[in-house]
């Protein structure tokens, strides 16, 4: 029998041992040998393969769907259309208040399509190829409608996407902390920026989405072998839609080829698979095609910032800002409107702004729905803060390094409460910046400018200061909709000692390459006194393991806190019981027992006064007759880690929205060819501070990955739509992700400011906060300073945009206005 214990206390930082060492990753052997098990490796007899029929239009009425020709094709098992979905399921739960709450979102389009690539029907056949051929025989008649591809236009409601909602606005509200009007009135300079635009992209995973779904008629239960990265929440969406209990949905994952948030909103596809598996009485499998992944899976939030006003003192201190933000969530608010509040975790960025007003509106457009994307919602806001700092510095003639150091939250202010009640737990941003500057040779900047100029190039220097807020408080959703019954966070793990002395760990998290098996083994081995090799961590996730909690998953930069917090808690329970058992067997006081090297032994006792873990496991599991009736050790413990947040203040829109704040300070040098606008990164440094680094190499890998995503987003990756809502970059030919040759040599550094609130002193850090986007925008603006000083107004700056800024700097300069007293 396992036991469950819940506690909210923070422990102490572990000293010495496996934690902090870059031990070989447990997962790598199977992965590099091609022995990983991804959902697409699962085979079942009689499987039908599914292909989705998708809309070529961004916005159209569905006049008719005729599947007869597809059904007549030999080898086709069956089809499903939106009308069937509307009969057999309910619309997905919406998190917004009205009008967003009134949107009806089904697994397939019902009556109307709202983005190019939206699934309108699905065909199941003997092979993937046949299903694709058969899907082409499905005749859909459409009546095109005007497409909305701009959130500001959409907000006018001249064309409405969701008639039942009556408006394209999903959510809107004003966040007002401090007194920004007073700050602006008392400022020596007010810098106004008319418009900044954070573009639409996605951190495309190597593995596309998909699942194999089996339905067991006898129990009414579905098993989904899949790559959903947040199955607990996936089930919360799916079960009510399917009109079943959560227990009827079993999610199983092992290896996942990257997720980055894009695999959180897979529920519409999975519901269709569940319906087909039940309808056809056979397992069904769907592997998303790459073009479909680009066209119709999840994109990151696009956001436009309007009418920014920044209050600046004569000495360069920035005391506040106000802004209108218009967020484009695409056709359906699937994870939204959470993006309307998640940014508030990092409201002042790395800075000491105390007076901030954000007027936030989110609207639907005829583009692919958004979902969390590495750095979700905070990245957009942090980009704004970094743009503001650089534009203010440039317009007022301030040094970008000095102005940052003047305005950064200081190490001695930690833990620091932001104007909206979040608590930055630890960090030393100025020190991290110094390290970054040293890594790129900032002291030789003038020399390098001259050298570049001699070669006809423009050299630019940029900084990206960013935060990776981790361990989400779901209570922040109540700041959007007080009726929502979500708050806090939790994660579970089980640790047991088995009959032959095996230490077995089961995680609730859903790893996608972050090395959970490795780091969990480090934590357990340090606590129970054995080597990490002796700790077996079950790969992947199975919701029937009973080791998961409501918010289980890998997202929001939290495994090092929640996942390892649960592992630590369970391992400590096991350790205590092992000591108790050894004390009983060895007839010694518990204080005299130590666990080390795979033995429970009496400290300083004779050599024979030692029990190998195998003996403890065997006693409890197979040889327990001699144990007294009132002593019943299980050596099998489940622990749920729950961080403490307290309740949020709905009226003031304040509270602890997240637990930890890792920081990343990026600095880079770029060279721009003034003839072509081509940008080359010639030096790059990223300094990470994620508290205690459990496994430094894994931390470094995350820094590299997040930086690569940011570089791609800053220079190439852009989901561009034409006026009709057709995606013009639906594949890797047009949507260029960084290749090895695009990556600059990265220099990395670190600072370790242990978190006082996390179980191991560690912080989640996998998302990177878009530091690279901020730094590259900063560097491009600096490089172009001698060419009319254009303002970098967009987060994506491919050559054509840089070239345009070179041609007409004044057009961008018109975006900025400075009033000095």
């Amino acid at each position: 029998m396992s036991t469950t214990t819940i506690t909210t206390e923070s422990g102490t930082v572990l000293e010495k041992g496996a934690i902090g060492q870059s031990i070989p990753r447990k997962e790598d052997r199977r992965l590099v040998q091609g022995q990983g098990v991804f959902f697409d490796d699962i085979r079942r007899h009689g499987t039908g393969y599914v292909h989705f029929v998708r809309s070529p239009y961004a916005h159209a009425k569905i006049v008719s769907i005729d599947v007869s020709a597809a059904l007549a094709l030999d080898g086709v098992y069956g089809t499903i259309t939106g009308d069937e979905v509307a009969i057999h399921t309910d619309p997905f739960f919406e998190m917004s208040t009205p009008p967003g709450a009134n949107i009806k979102d089904y697994a397939l389009a019902v009556g109307k399509v709202r983005f190019q690539g939206e699934p309108v029907a699905a065909v199941c056949a003997t092979t993937r190829e046949l299903a694709r051929d058969a899907a082409e025989l499905v005749e859909v008649e459409y009546e095109p409608l005007p497409a909305l591809v701009d959130a500001e236009e959409a907000a006018k409601d001249e064309v409405v996407l969701h008639e039942e909602a009556g408006s394209n606005i999903v959510w809107s509200g004003v966040f007002d902390w401090g007194d920004v009007d007073q700050a602006l009135a008392e400022a020596d300079h007010v810098v106004k920026i008319k418009r900044l635009h954070f573009h639409r992209f996605s951190s495309t995973p190597l593995e596309c989405s998909g699942a194999l779904v089996e339905y067991q008629k006898g129990t009414g239960q579905w098993t989904l072998y899949c790559n959903h990265q947040m199955p607990g929440v996936g089930a919360i969406w799916m079960a009510p839609a399917l009109r079943c209990g959560i227990d009827k949905l079993r999610f199983v994952t092992q290896d996942i080829g990257g997720a980055f948030g894009n695999k959180i909103c897979l529920h519409p596809y999975y519901v269709v698979l569940c319906l087909l598996a039940r309808k056809l009485g056979r397992p069904v499998q769907w592997t998303e095609w790459r073009t479909d992944q680009h066209t119709a899976n999840a994109h990151g939030n696009e956001r436009t910032f309007l009418d920014v006003e920044v209050a600046v003192k004569a000495d360069g201190e920035m005391t506040g800002f106000k802004v209108k933000a218009v967020d484009d969530c695409g056709a359906f608010p699937r994870y939204e409107p959470l993006g309307c509040i998640i940014w508030a975790q990092v409201t002042p960025g790395c800075y000491g702004w105390r007076n901030i007003r954000v007027d936030f509106t989110q609207a639907c457009t005829n583009k692919a729905p958004v979902s969390p994307n590495r750095g979700y919602s905070r990245m957009q806001h942090l980009w704004l803060t970094e743009r503001v700092v650089d534009i203010v510095a440039a317009e007022l003639g301030l040094d970008p390094v000095e102005v940052r150091k003047r305005n950064y939250v200081k190490a001695e202010q930690m833990p620091y409460e932001t104007p909206n009640g979040c608590v930055y737990d630890s960090g030393d941003y100025a020190r991290s910046l110094d390290i970054a500057l040293e890594l790129i040779g900032y002291d030789r900047l003038d020399e390098r400018r001259k050298d570049a100029a001699a070669r006809g190039k423009l050299l630019g220097f940029g900084i990206g200061s960013t935060l990776d807020s981790g361990t989400n408080n779901f209570g922040q959703s109540q700041l959007l909709n007080p009726e929502l019954q979500f708050s806090g966070n939790n994660e579970a793990a089980m640790v047991k000692l088995d009959i032959f002395g095996e230490v077995v760990v089961t995680l609730g998290t859903v790893p996608q390459g972050q090395g959970h098996e490795t780091t969990a083994s480090q934590v357990v081995s340090d606590i129970i006194g054995c080597s990490p090799e002796q700790v077996h961590v079950r790969p992947g996730h199975d919701s029937f393991f009973n080791s998961s909690a409501g918010f289980s998953g890998t997202y929001a930069s939290q495994f090092a806190v929640t996942g390892l917090g649960a592992v630590k808690g369970a391992a400590e329970l096991l350790r205590d019981e092992m000591i108790k058992l050894a004390a009983f067997v060895l007839q010694a006081p518990e204080e005299a027992i130590e666990l080390a090297d795979g033995f429970a032994r009496i400290k300083d006792g004779p050599e024979e006064a030692a029990l190998p873990f195998m003996a403890l496991g065997a006693i409890v599991n197979a040889n327990n007759a001699f144990l007294p009736p009132d002593f019943n050790p299980t050596l099998n413990h489940r622990y749920v880690y729950r961080p403490y947040f307290g309740v949020v203040d709905v009226e003031k829109k304040m509270g602890k929205l997240t637990l930890t704040y890792a920081s990343q300070i990026h600095a880079c040098l770029v060279e721009i060819d003034p003839e072509t606008g081509q940008t080359e990164i010639v030096d790059y440094a990223a300094v990470d501070d994620c508290g205690v680094r459990v496994h430094p190499q894994i931390v470094e890998g995350q820094v590299h990955g997040a930086t690569a995503h940011a570089i791609g987003a800053a220079l190439h990756e852009d989901f561009v739509y034409d006026e009709d809502g057709t995606l013009l970059t639906p594949n890797f030919y047009d949507y260029h992700v960084p290749h090895t040759m695009d990556m600059p040599p990265l220099k990395t550094g670190y600072v370790e400011s242990p978190s006082p609130v996390s179980p191991l002193g560690a912080k989640g850090m996998g998302e990177g906060g878009g530091g690279g986007i901020h730094a590259i925008c900063s560097a491009i603006q600096d490089a172009l300073r001698s060419e009319g000083a254009p303002i970098v107004y967009d987060s994506c700056n491919p050559s054509h945009r840089v070239w345009s800024m070179l041609q007409d700097a004044e057009q961008t300069r018109a975006l900025v206005e400075v009033t000095s007293k």
Partner: protein, 149 residues
């Protein structure tokens, strides 16, 4: 995508009108026509193969003549469906006498939706230009032949 132009033809306006409004002649003008069927005076359909990137895009096209002012103006709407693409075309021409010949002012608004539309954006303009050129050359030839008869 919008394309337009003016073409000077050697035949008289009636001759040009005749060629442009005879479905059989029209079929010969269109590129990649594999079959052509006349439903009634104002409705035709065709199976065409549009050269697009690698290989051709097979489409079933339905044409409807929506406006006609003989012998100077006609408007034609075409809707095509194919694998991964839906094409809508709205085209019109105006004929004016120019000496012994005819001046044809033409315009077309072509929209391709769907994945092919996405992928074809880079190549669509030159392909459309080329196809228009082919149509106009074929038209000139037919007008010359008809005028000679």
């Amino acid at each position: 995508m919008r394309v337009e132009g003016v073409k000077e033809l050697s035949g008289g306006r009636e001759v040009v009108w005749e060629v442009l409004n005879d479905p059989a002649s029209m079929a010969k003008l269109m590129p990649g026509v594999e079959s052509f069927e006349v439903t009634d005076d104002t409705h035709w359909s065709a199976n065409v193969k549009v050269p697009l990137g690698l290989g051709g895009l097979k489409m079933k096209m339905n044409f409807e003549k929506t406006e006609e002012r003989e012998p100077e103006f006609a408007r034609l709407v075409a809707k095509g469906t194919g694998v991964g693409a839906i094409m809508n075309m709205d085209t019109a021409f105006t004929l004016t006498e120019a000496g012994s010949g005819t001046s044809m002012k033409w315009e077309a608004d072509v929209k391709i939706a769907g994945p092919v539309g996405s992928m074809g954006q880079r190549v669509l303009q030159p392909i459309i230009n080329q196809q228009v050129e082919n149509v106009l050359t074929a038209l000139e030839k037919q007008v010359s032949e008809a005028a000679a008869q």
